[in-house]
């Protein structure tokens, strides 16, 4: 008798939670489909609008993906969420900003006597340098972040580095405000990647503008993602990173300097976040000390959505989140400013319904 009493309350809630989850998922799905169906019937939006929203979602999604890779790489190796990662992106964004600003201040006189800035006289050099500097100082920030805020806490309970990460995030934000001021700063693009100019693509009678800045960002983020994937899969450094992620002690027995690989992981994550920061500035035209906060949390959402610790998952999660939050408000017929609500609703739903994400394996005891 006593045993039976003991058993029941333990078993029942587990079953209930599963059923409730299923019902909740089903209800959410039905409501969403109904809503989208109704909106689509009434909608005045043409194909060109949907294309425009998808493309802009894909562009932003590429940046989320680059940042999300950083979350996932660090989680894969240290099982911690680097909450200061958004700030690393912010610092990268300022790196690119100052390069463009400096180049813009140098006047150049052409042969026919017209004066233009060095920025537009040598746009390729300017863009290259903006990304090199932006990625470089973001990588440095990542390196020192790990050295100062996380390495001394290696071996501490998992909550401790997490708190340190939040502290580092607040510190970097305020350091950014102190160094760069609280005001928004306008990103000056070279004309070849202007935000207002682009190709006109004719769709269903109207034309859709694909801006140079957007296409540039999309191509660059895709290139960087392929490069990272090859680095992780094909190179010795990539293999060492995977070995450290799978089993640190055995990795050390192979002659891998585990601390060095962890540092290099932070450097790579930082560089990718820095590139996203420069792209963010080029595409949106603005940067300030707070610019990394929202993309940082959204990219975290994307990493969780794809399955934290899984690199292709972070890429897919980032692109998916970018598109959904861009199309979502129009598809649901709600205000455009509610796109953040959509992104974070996804985070909550994923955490409730499938915490391991799209591509994530079931979380084991060791990793939780």
């Amino acid at each position: 008798m006593a045993e039976e009493h003991h058993k029941r309350p333990v078993k029942m809630p587990q079953l209930n939670i599963k059923i409730i989850r299923l019902i909740a998922a089903f209800v959410v799905l039905v409501l969403l489909i109904l809503r989208i169906h109704n909106v689509a019937l009434e909608s005045q939006l043409g194909a060109s609008t949907w294309l425009r929203l998808s493309v802009s979602g894909l562009i932003i999604g590429g940046m989320y993906a680059l940042i999300a890779i950083g979350y996932t790489l660090v989680y894969g190796i240290l099982f911690m969420i680097n909450f200061a990662h958004g700030e690393v992106m912010m610092i990268g964004s300022f790196g690119g900003y100052f390069v463009f600003e400096a180049f813009n201040a140098i006047p150049v006189t052409l042969h026919d006597g017209t004066q233009i800035s060095f920025l537009n006289a040598q746009p390729v050099i300017a863009i290259l340098l903006a990304f090199l500097i932006g990625m470089g100082i973001a990588a440095l920030t990542g390196y020192f972040l790990e050295k100062i805020a996380y390495r001394p806490l290696r071996g501490a309970p998992r909550l401790v580095p997490l708190i340190s990460a939040i502290g580092a995030s607040i510190f970097l934000q305020n350091a950014g405000q102190l160094l760069f001021g609280p005001q928004r700063r306008q990103y000056i693009n070279p004309v070849i990647i202007d935000r207002g100019l682009g190709w006109q693509i004719p769709i269903a009678g109207t034309k859709v503008l694909l801006t140079y800045s957007g296409i540039f960002s999309l191509v660059l983020s895709a290139t960087l993602m392929v490069a990272l994937y090859l680095l992780v899969q094909r190179t010795k450094l990539g293999r060492a990173m995977r070995a450290v992620a799978q089993d640190k002690r055995t990795a050390a027995l192979m002659g891998i300097n585990v601390d060095k690989i962890i540092s290099q992981t932070f450097v790579i994550s930082g560089a990718l976040a820095g590139s996203a920061g420069v792209m963010w500035g080029i595409h949106n035209g603005l940067t300030n000390y707070f610019v990394g906060f929202l993309p940082g949390i959204k990219a975290f959402t994307a990493a969780v959505l794809g399955g934290i610790g899984n690199i292709p998952g972070a890429m897919i999660g980032g692109l998916f989140l970018g598109i959904v939050e861009s199309i979502g408000p129009a598809a649901l017929g709600i205000d455009f400013q509610l796109q953040d609500v959509i992104a974070f609703s996804i985070l909550i739903l994923v955490l409730i319904l499938r915490p391991s994400g799209i591509l994530g394996e079931a979380l084991t005891e060791e990793k939780v």
């Binding site: 010795k236 293999r239 060492a240 995977r242 070995a243 799978q246 089993d247 002690r249 055995t250 990795a251 050390a252 027995l253 192979m254 002659g255 891998i256 300097n257 585990v258």
Partner: protein, 238 residues
């Protein structure tokens, strides 16, 4: 010539005193067995030599030089290679990638390829499964992969931790044949085993560990004849 000399090392896991001043040595070309029950400190001794756990006191000399302050990756570059307990294959890497991890300290592509070919010749099962993920191999295959991975570093001293654990007797025989063969090709071997009979049958000398201390040492034949060893580790009587 004395290759490895461990002198009175003490290791603590928190409040637990795991190694209580253990001393042993290994001469070049030897197979030395550390035998003892679970928790006697055998694996801890190997990890102390590999420097993946820290010692509180004592000294370790390799070829006459102290390695007590050498980080684990430099132990590997000095060709002291550990094949850890429970194989510790990288589960989400293929057989080939696991072997390449073993050769991490080497950069000569040609030599790595040559060594890998030698491993496939020695362990034909691994060649059949070269593209398969390490986590999907059977226990015996994983042990072979673990040893092959260790050999990829071209060890001068091989530290083998419980190579027979969880394997069928026929596979244990195979593994021990391979260990003898590796030794005959010039690699010194420090072998940790619970299977004392097997270990002492191929070893030159042995040490018996009990609760963090060396309680007996001697030639393998003497230990096999020792009544205490027979009673405690060889199933009694004899």
């Amino acid at each position: 010539m004395m290759m490895l000399d461990v002198q009175g090392i003490n290791v603590y896991y928190g409040a637990i005193h795991a190694l209580k001043g253990i001393s042993f040595h290994l001469n070049e070309g030897e197979i030395v067995a550390l035998i003892g029950a679970n928790g006697a400190g055998k694996s801890t001794s190997l990890s102390a030599i590999s420097r993946v756990i820290s010692t509180r006191s004592g000294a370790i000399f390799y070829k006459g030089e102290s390695i007590i302050n050498t980080p684990p990756q430099d132990i590997v570059t000095r060709r002291i290679i550990q094949v850890p307990e429970g194989r510790r294959i990288f589960p989400r890497m293929s057989v080939v990638e696991n072997l390449e991890m073993g050769a991490y300290i080497h950069n000569d592509r040609g030599k790595i390829e040559k060594n890998m070919e030698a491993m496939f010749a020695r362990f034909p099962r691994l060649r059949e499964r070269r593209k398969q993920l390490g986590g999907t191999l059977s226990g015996g295959e994983q042990q072979m992969l673990a040893i092959a991975r260790g050999l990829m570093a071209e060890p001068e001293l091989l530290l083998l931790d419980e190579p027979s654990m969880g394997l069928a007797p026929i596979i244990v025989e195979q593994i021990f044949d391979i260990i003898q063969d590796i030794n005959q090709h010039g690699t010194s071997i420090l072998l940790v085993e619970q299977n004392a009979q097997m270990a002492l049958s191929i070893a030159n000398r042995g040490y018996v560990l009990e609760t963090g201390r060396v309680v007996l040492e001697g030639s393998a034949d003497d230990l096999l004849d020792n009544p205490h060893v027979q009673e405690a580790y060889l199933g009694g009587g004899g």
